[in-house]
């Protein structure tokens, strides 16, 4: 296998270019369920980050000993352990928040983001790369959860992180704190990110194209061929 992206490239990829929610559409359950307000969204993001980073680190440490047909079992075992630790920790130190999140904390076990990072990255890369990847993905996941929660809490409750930001006269949009609001906001933000990505890609094309044309003008037939094969 080729070396693939370096640690810092993987770290950056996780935040936007391969954002787990907006680009990979993974982990939709917490994205829809706990984003009615900022505080539960942040707690969920932190718990997921803890599980993802720990699981990626451990899997990368033992990657040499993994048997192909038993690897999924090892992934699940590792993830479930860290989820249980996160769940107990929340119940002990953030009791109220653990009641608000309820079954969604144990449900981190089935967040495909985590097992996909174990499979794609941690089981093949060094600990440094795997942890960088996990931190980047966690930041991307946090960014996604908090962006949705920001829209929903401000429009639905007129506040952000529990602090009043809209005037008292603001009529709270009830739908925003209900499940349909989650789908609406996710859809709209997804469209916005996609639109922004395409706009950026287009602009990059324009920026690169003239230079390419200049090269092509100078290039011989052989050079053209080379440029084409590189493009393919």
């Amino acid at each position: 296998m080729a070396n693939g992206p370096t640690a810092s490239e993987r770290f950056l990829n996780g935040i936007l270019p391969e954002n787990p929610v907006y680009r990979q559409l993974l982990g939709m359950c917490p994205v829809l369920a706990v984003t009615a307000a900022m505080l539960p969204a942040l707690t969920m993001a932190a718990a997921t980050a803890f599980v993802l980073i720990s699981a990626n680190g451990i899997i990368s440490l033992i990657r040499g000993q993994l048997r192909p047909h038993l690897r999924i079992l090892v992934f699940t075992l590792t993830i479930a352990t860290f989820v249980t630790i996160a769940d107990r920790f929340l119940a002990a130190y953030l009791y109220e928040m653990s009641k608000v999140l309820g079954p969604y904390v144990p449900l981190i076990i089935v967040n495909c983001l985590i097992i996909s990072r174990c499979e794609i990255c941690a089981s093949k890369q060094s600990v440094r790369v795997a942890v960088a990847d996990a931190v980047g993905m966690s930041l991307g996941f946090t960014l996604a959860l908090t962006s949705i929660a920001t829209v929903r809490e401000i429009l639905g409750s007129g506040s952000w992180l529990g602090i009043r930001v809209l005037p008292e006269a603001w009529p709270n949009w009830g739908i925003m704190v209900l499940p349909p609001g989650a789908f609406l906001v996710l859809g709209l933000l997804l469209a916005a990110v996609e639109w922004w990505g395409q706009w950026r890609a287009q602009r990059m094309d324009y920026a690169v194209a003239p230079a390419m044309r200049g090269q092509q003008a100078q290039a011989t037939g052989e050079g053209m061929e080379e440029a084409n094969s590189w493009k393919a």
């Binding site: 038993l70 002990a92 079954p103």
Partner: protein
Amino acid sequence: MTRKTKILGYLQQAWLVLVLACAYGGALAGVQISLSPRIAENRRQETYRIIPQLVPGAEQEQTVELSISDRHGNPARVYQTRDAEGQPNGWVVPAKGPGFADDIGLLIGLDPPLNKITGMYVLDQRETPGLGDFIRDADFQRQFRGKAADTPIEAVKADPGEQQITVLSGATVSSSSVCEIVNTALANLREPLLQEWARASAGADPRDEAEAAW
């Protein structure tokens, strides 16, 4: 292939899973041992906060915790609530039983002679979000208020009678489970609580006993 080489083959394949399972099990046991007192304390504080809602006129600070045995001889912890003058005015009984997904933990408020249920609160639940977790609704829990404590409560789909409650649509199993947990707890604790109450009325203060026991 002999049996011995077969077993060795299995071990060669699965040793990592076995070692990890033991290590993770140990780690989880450690986490559980170190955090469970804190979690129990959190639950107890929530119980105390809820007590005035479950027994009208109960004072949080006056509540006394009693360790009794239910009719099967199993230890049980109950709260004897008191009014501002320190007079016993009811019971709060923690109860636990199987729900749809996981155990449901309840608090049941009762009047002193165990005639009526004065309140019910869902302390702990992991029911399906959006369906079974409707048992947390105050409207659902209010249905238990005023029900007789000596006859089992039934869950029905519509038109609830005297000793019946309406199940929530989409949460049939969870609602019925809550009824079942309340019924079981009351049946198991009825006699011991009445004995305790008779003793309290006869003048013995369980608080003195508790102090004496220390």
